[in-house]
Symmetry: C2
Subunit: 510 residues, 2 copies
């Protein structure tokens, strides 16, 4: 990456990167100064109405971005009822608006996307068939995915010196083959290990529901973009909650599958490759409907992803039928170290009550599970195994400072902790014990799913989210976990552990 | 385990354990002194004919043990054509004979087995249906499996002080529910990390084809017992070749599945639990027919093993259809550091020729793969991660010496090597690179399987087997691998890596 820049340089570098991105928003798509004057991280307003009120979108563009989910768009494009070009243009414009409101994008690829959309339309007309199941669909991606010819800085100033990606991530290749159109990449936190999508390259993503609140992380740019309907479908990653936290904070749907289902290879990692941690990062969708989450999962798995990625399980898609009998749910009401705020307690209570009233039963698990706090500490130890502390090197390489939320996203008891090989053996045994507790609770109580909070609160002010003890549990256990903001806080189906073959399965409680 | 015995004690302890086992062979099943006088590890004779010639087995017992495979036995018992009691008695007697010839058993459970067989027969008569898919079938097990009430020493003298197992291994529970009858556990090497099934508790298992040759390991007792038709089906484990080496040395069939398919929990490990090694031990069958290997795999996986074991993948059984087109095979002809002996070279050549003549094609991979020797060294490093060197502690606890073959089963370049966390990251990256090479060879050449030697030679003299560089490859890659002694040396189907859902699939070349 050339010589290490001087400390005074990093701001210049970052500003020039931001400026290059900003230039890719056409002048005619820019919001008026009067709208922009209210936009800041200290402005306690909702911007949800602005895409509709700002006047930049035509009636058809409002319809395409608001009244269709991804499944409906794909169906209508396949039938020739609507053009990919028009759909893509609508989402490019709306993403440009979202970017000006909540700073959710990193790389902008509007020109390439419109050319690609034209290609899709021409293909359909010429061949009389679609390119694939995602024919013509604009899809937004977390910044860490590589798209050939586009830079991947993942918010490290030192990565601004990197050349554009020489090849696509494995999943990007797969989605391209199915006809996807990529038009933006989205913002993430420095190091990807905090829940505030803030970094020194692109700055902070704001929550469109209220700009003073966090958009969550690490796939926070997606959450904010989706909430503003600037994307029909977003691709996220998750090792401690990074798919689900933005979903909960912004109010969109998401699904975290088990590990090794969706091809993970060819991305830019925020840390060192080769970690012996048993907690693997996973890719999953953020979106607008349950069927859209399934559209993504089923398309990826039906595409034989194991052909393009040597770490992906060769397990076909299968649909698990919802039992006809009443269902049995475990219920976890939270950890005393992170007690639930009233709105979350109410949502959890409403969900539990609704399930009971529908004839299902609930088993309270609070007293039967290991401390969620201690479980999260164990997970964090697995995240801290690298003796080279690679993310620190990436940050120090440019002289950029740490973002504010980093200090809230670590356990004080782990300050200075260094892993030994001996302790790693004990940590794995400890993880197995926890796995067994949950496994036995599932089996002995014949549970179909567990219902629990995804976080103690709704979206909180910037840099106060802290540690995601409720979401990291499902990563440590390697279970799948959909997240429904506003409906049911977080639920994980009865997928026995390390189960790679479970479909979203969320119909069970949808 | 109480106080550490004095060095002079270990031989007494071991002798008393052996004596207790020997006493469980009824007097009327003992071979004549004239037969026994020829039995020793330096006697270059085959004992394959002795079960038939010794006169201890009735004609029906010879028929039951020789003319049926496990599948045929189960079918005939289910129809009531033969009784489990008679089948079990025949295999108990034949195992007793095998034990006297090749020292293949560790624990003898004839009384319990006959009572259980009676229970199976009574159940069938009373209920008009079988207990399960393995109704009444005698199954032999490697010593490391726990059976409630039976000791599990795994050949460590220090483990003689352990009480009998308090519960069954998860797989034992599962097989019991399917109607299995357990009647013997079988011999293994001290530490399970050499290919000679020799330890200071039970002594050495001999090869029934020629007593001066190794029976292989670590599941060598099974291989020898099966070859003498003293078992219809044996359950083995494998982390570097331990299912397949005895199969190759003795001449029986075997199958090593991918990791986490067959429930592994509740066994007695030879080393420390919690290793961060990506190479996981697996359970698989040794047997007499391809359909028997499938009987075991399908029964285990159709039994929802993820319900009884939190580490087992919840992936249902599925049958992969053999393509109607000609197949494509990769061919690996060996590594220069362990060149093939003429019989193995001939077998490999015959197999390749037969495939070509049948219209299939072969792609030579010798120059395209990383050094098999270096790959094995990497695997061995993963086996040596434990800084506590737990197996050494288990051996030293009694003062017993190391068995002779241990020194042939280590890489001199790894003497004194200790893992660091930093190197472990690099080792994982190195493993990923190797995985990618094979993955890409499979995909680019559209291979259905790879054909390669399982070892450089046929069975070798005791304590000279050395390092299993050909078999450990499939463990490092986590691919499934059937092994056919005498037919095709070793073949692994085109199961994309870490594929848990592949059935034996060996019909493709059967």
């Amino acid at each position: 990456m050339g010589s290490i820049p001087q400390i005074s340089d990093w701001k210049v570098l970052a500003a020039s990167k931001r400026e290059a991105v900003a230039k890719k928003i056409p002048k005619q798509w820019r919001l008026s100064p009067s709208v922009l004057s209210n936009i800041s991280s200290t402005s306690p307003i909702s911007v949800l109405d602005i895409p509709r009120s700002c006047g930049l979108l035509s009636t058809q563009e409002l319809t395409l971005t608001e009244d269709y989910d991804a499944t409906a768009l794909v169906e209508a494009m396949a039938k020739g009822e609507i053009k990919s070009y028009d759909v893509t243009l609508a989402f490019c414009k709306r993403a440009a608006i979202a970017q000006q409101l909540v700073n959710c994008c990193t790389e902008i690829m509007f020109d390439e996307a419109l050319a690609r959309a034209k290609e899709c339309d021409d293909y359909l007309e010429r061949e009389g068939k679609t390119m694939g199941r995602l024919h013509g669909l604009p899809i937004s991606l977390k910044d860490s995915f590589n798209i050939k010819g586009v830079q991947t800085t993942i918010g490290y100033v030192s990565f601004i010196a990197h050349p554009p990606a020489a090849s696509n991530s494995n999943l990007v290749d797969l989605l391209f083959k199915q006809g996807a159109v990529f038009y933006v990449k989205t913002n993430i936190p420095q190091s990807m290990m905090t829940a505030d999508s803030d970094n020194n390259v692109f700055g902070r993503t704001l929550n469109p529901n209220k700009l003073t609140l966090t958009a969550g992380g690490s796939t926070g740019g997606e959450g904010a973009l989706l909430k503003l309907r600037g994307s029909p479908l977003g691709i996220a990653t998750d090792i401690a909650g990074s798919i689900r936290i933005p979903s909960l904070c912004n109010g969109v749907l998401s699904f975290k599958p088990t590990a090794s289902r969706i091809p993970f290879g060819g991305k830019v990692p925020p840390g060192r490759l080769g970690s012996p941690s048993p907690i693997l990062p996973v890719i999953g969708p953020e979106g607008h409907s349950v069927r859209d989450l399934e559209l993504f999962m089923k398309t990826a798995i039906d595409s034989d992803p194991w052909e393009c990625d040597e770490h992906t399980l060769a397990v076909p898609w299968r649909r698990v039928e919802v039992p006809k009998r009443p269902l049995r749910f475990g219920l976890i009401r939270g950890d005393p170290k992170r007690p639930l705020h009233p709105p979350v307690e109410r949502a959890l209570h409403s969900a539990a009550t609704a399930l009971k009233e529908a004839g299902h039963s609930l088993v309270l698990l609070d007293e039967k599970i290991p401390s969620l706090w201690d479980t999260a500490i164990l997970a964090w130890k697995f995240f801290l195994l690298d003796p080279k502390k690679t993310p620190v090197q990436y940050v120090n390489a440019s002289g950029e400072p740490w973002v504010s939320s980093i200090k809230t996203a670590s356990f004080s008891s782990l300050a200075g902790w260094e892993a030994t090989m001996d302790e790693l053996f004990d940590m794995n045994v400890e993880r197995s014990k926890i796995l067994k507790v949950y496994h036995d609770l599932y089996v002995e109580n014949q549970l179909d799913a567990i219902l629990m909070p995804g976080y103690q609160a709704t979206a909180v002010p910037h840099d106060t989210y802290g540690l995601p003890i409720y979401t990291v549990l499902q990563n440590l256990l390697n279970v799948s976990a959909p997240s429904y903001s506003g409906k049911i806080p977080l639920i994980w189906p009865s997928v026995p552990f390390r189960n790679p073959a479970v479909p979203p399965g969320i119909e069970a409680v949808g």
